[in-house]
Symmetry: C2
Subunit: 316 residues, 2 copies
């Protein structure tokens, strides 16, 4: 069984690649290394193929003489910087999808597409499930939503098998701030500042909530979705049906690290979503998936990894 | 008052450009001439600026030293050929929108965006109004829908003034089959075949209906929308709230031409929409627009123009 993972050298992609290897797949990773890193794949590098490739360029040609059974489309341009370069966002997050559909069509592969719960912004109530109307707040949201529609179009018209997963806020080991890209996921951002004795900045008052989901739970959901019989471009939320405010998260990270620093507060961003909590029962009912890792346990593993990284940096 | 019209050398764009001139605007047309034609602007060519330009390349730089008050975004890649080149469709129909938003933002211009009623496909009832859920059937529909979302995102986050218009099936003088592109709008397709004594091909049984709207009615709607106080990316249907089957249309064209030929029937396309009839009361209520031209009268003018063209071709 041959699986192609776009963004496979990234944070989520590398965990997925490892798990696919563990389950006996042959894996090819496509990654332009703008946000991914070969070191994320150190443990499996000798057993997989890594191709440095921007998915906004057609890539079906790479597999002309190879069968492809599964396409995991994870490569993306980050939401946080989507307004800085909306054209690039469109190229990666939408034209990249068209290129994935091309490959899936040519190879008869099933495609899992990583979308985002942020497509439904500022809902009137939580938890949000799959019946809520989309309300994009950034070019990223718009292009992810368009990709979801496109998968259904190709399923209807060209019978391409696919499934869409809307991820909640994923965290875990290997997630890093990318200074060059300007990408600052909240947990590594807070923890790395605190480890350096600096005061992290919270957007607004920090009462906004997120549904944090551990990367290994996402990986199990992604593979369950691929192996399920849902293949008409239908979409499923992967979340935990719980919410944590940014202030509470800050306290948990600070306690886990044993570092006490008063955070600063910056302006609230207009595209900021107030509350995030996502009902995953559709995924649970359809392919028996539930998240297993508590935030406390996930944070422990995540911070362990960040501390390790920090200590290595100090030593080098 | 300076108006920029993308796709201004095209069928609808050229009628709009003429009307804007008539109303005293200074007009710059951007057109890559892939489907537009300089001859469409013959009557106003000496009084306007025509720039040959693909809107999928950023174009705000063209107007660095010029004020721009109005941006009419009409350039598009046609729905009919959207599956043949979905990447190109995305570049024109979505990245082109990003480039338009860039210009609108830099210049403080208001943007009118030409979208399409086909975004709502195969509704359970007709007439369709603005409350119906989108259900794209082609890459074209998907990219038009994404553009609509993007205009609202930019309105919310960057206060860009904009308005979206969903056109029904527009027809009128200057609409031509484009053999090179593979674009075959139904009225010129039928009429030009009949004029040549050939049998036109109808997709499926011809019972599918369209809401045909005359180009001059669209032009008045577009300008009314621009001049209205709706500027938060809201969307409005421009249709006639009536429907005509393709078979009935065929008979009307055949009678107007005085040519009787039995049509052929081809396979029905999967992206074909069964019924189209669009309620325009939101546009009527908000900016007082109603369509004025009957299909009989519009067809008369359209066929007059096609006959004229055909006779010129025969003479040359």
């Amino acid at each position: 069984m041959h699986a192609v993972v776009t963004g496979g050298a990234g944070f989520i992609g590398s965990h997925l690649t490892e798990e696919l290897m563990r389950r006996g797949r042959q894996v090819t990773v496509l990654d332009d290394l703008s946000n991914g890193n070969r070191s994320n794949l150190a443990s499996v590098a000798s057993k997989i193929t890594i191709v440095e490739r921007d998915i906004s360029r057609p890539y079906a040609e790479l597999f002309e003489d190879t069968k492809v059974d599964e396409l995991y489309s994870l490569a993306c341009y980050p939401r946080q910087i989507s307004f800085q370069n909306p054209r690039r966002d469109c190229e990666v997050n939408l034209i990249g999808t068209i290129n994935g559909l091309d490959l899936a069509r040519k190879k008869g592969a099933k495609m899992v597409y990583a979308s985002n719960t942020g497509i439904v912004s500022n809902p009137k109530t939580v938890p949000v499930d799959e019946t809520f109307s989309p309300n994009p707040l950034t070019p990223y949201d718009t292009h992810k939503l368009a990709s979801e529609y496109l998968l259904r179009v190709y399923s209807k018209v060209h019978n391409i098998r696919s499934i869409v997963l809307r991820f909640a806020t994923v965290y875990g080991p290997r997630q890093r701030v990318n200074e060059k890209l300007g990408w600052r996921p909240v947990i590594p951002e807070f923890a790395s500042k605190l480890l350096r004795g600096m005061s992290p900045t919270i957007d607004g008052d920090g009462a906004q909530t997120r549904d944090f989901i551990f990367v290994k739970d996402i990986v199990s959901g992604v593979i369950s979705a691929m192996e399920s019989n849902s293949d008409e471009g239908d979409f499923f939320i992967l979340g935990t049906n719980s919410e944590t405010s940014i202030m509470d998260l800050y306290r948990m990270i600070s306690e886990t690290l044993g570092v006490r620093i008063v955070p600063s507060h910056g302006p609230r961003k207009p595209e900021e979503i107030a509350r995030m909590r996502y009902d995953y029962s559709k995924a649970c009912n359809r392919f028996g998936w539930t998240p297993k890792t508590t935030l406390a346990e996930g944070l422990r593993q995540t911070i362990e990894d960040l501390k390790h990284d920090y200590q290595n940096m100090k030593l080098s």
